[in-house]
Amino acid sequence: MSLQTTIESSNTNSTYQPSLPWGRWSIRFVALSYLLVMLIIPLLVILQDGFSKGLAEFWRQISLPMAWHALQLTLWTSAVMTIINTIMGTLTAFVLVRYDFPGKRLLNGIIDLPLAIPTLVTGVMLVILFGPQQALGAWLKDQFNFSVIFAPPGIILALLFLTFPFVVRSVQPVLMELDRVQEHAAATLGAGAWTIFRRIVLPPLSLPVITGALLSFARAIGEFGSIVIVAGNIPFVSQTAAVYVFGEVESENRLGASAVSIVMVAIAFGLLMFADYLRQRSKGRTA
């Protein structure tokens, strides 16, 4: 995933004049109007619609118990997923970079699978595995009274599946570049494995780890396909914000749909901008 790549300003590029001025302007016009039509107009339309009846009505729609619960459920399941994914993703990247073992290449290939599998199909997979009529699902329910499907654990599992590559692929290249001289020095001075990891390996990894975590969280907020299959549409139990918006669109409650949509878009935008800011800042430091 190269979403984490941003544009660097490089002097050789900006002084380079590829063709005639009118060519430059027309190509710029084409590109910007494409982005305007595809991206910016749709985003503005939803803002306009959500605030069309004023701020008070917007707040009323957000604070409806069902909408509020859906937003809360979305945020906490995404947060739990992000914590687990950050720890396991960093660990996976570490194992893949530092150790040699049979099946390493296969493991490395499997990590990208979630990017290739439609999220709806992910939901179907989890239902087959943990559904109440299936062997495993029924056993968990009987023995531990633990439901995965139509409950928050299913949402967290689905989110973990589809965001797994983000942290791994963000940490892996940085870990590969890391100079190991300092680690050897620390080991010579008597530092234990955990101290070395915490004091020497982890600090340069903090940026890719945080960026990967932010991307996972941003991606999870809006997830629909897998969640609607795994969690269904049960208000106050397993209805996430995206599923709530879908229900409101179906029942033609425009204001409710727009208000919750705006909250989701705002969270996504904030997270992406923050990730972008962190990347820019670290580039400024190293340059």
């Binding site: 590029n13 060519g23 494409y34 439609p118 199909v121 991606r219 995206a242």
Partner: protein, 289 residues
Amino acid sequence: MSVSSSSRTAQLQIQSSLLAWLDRNKSKLGKWTLIGLVVAYVAFLIVTPISALVVGAFQKGIGASIASLNDPDVFVAFWNTLWISLVVVIIHTVFGTVVAWIFVRHRFPGRNLINGLIDMPFAVSPVVAGYMLLLLFGRNGMLAPVIDALGIRVAFAMPGMVLATLFVTLPFMIRELIPVMEAFNTQQEKAAATLGANGWQTFWRVTFPALRWGMIYGITLTFARALGEFGAVLVIGGGVQGHTETATLFIYRALDERQYIGAYSAALALGLFSLILVLGSDWLRQREH
């Protein structure tokens, strides 16, 4: 007394030898614990669900799965998915290249903000994406008068579904191309220009071949994402059986109607198709390098 003291010494001996063994193999033990943990996690999270789908699809035998897919609705659904994806890939290849190009080569006001906005479709819920288009093109939508005057149907029809998929897949091509374009050395282009090539010749003969792999990867990711799109096409297309139903919408409806074999088989077919696409381009790239 002596018995217990001798057993105590034996216990201490075992303990100390165990500690010595642990000490000697500490790094090895740590290594294999971590590897075991990661392998177990990946097996549980990714491999098990995928295997469950394969088992689920073939639980009544391969014949039953194939029979369940041999249905006109399934053909229409997969056909719709395929051609929506193809149109989306073509549009993004052309315009995505142009956008990536101006981002790498041009400086203009608002560039940083737009650069941030490009990633938005990645985080905006597909449901919200479909809903935005409904607000624009729906029955009471802002552009409804224009659309009616032109006599085209966008909402609950193919054009709307193409637009929704375009929105959702917007970042992939651009994000794949920007780093490749940045790494590309402009001296080659200057050399071509010095030798008398015009702008178009330089692009086609020098720049394009260098960008080829970024483009192939961008196309693959866009295609895979388009094949799997669900929320946005559900909202804007409505999923009318045999009409605006795509492969994902068929799977959704089949599950709802408890046609489990059909749903699982279609899910497996769609997943495989998408997987072959991504693995195929990976394989091509590895063969080249």
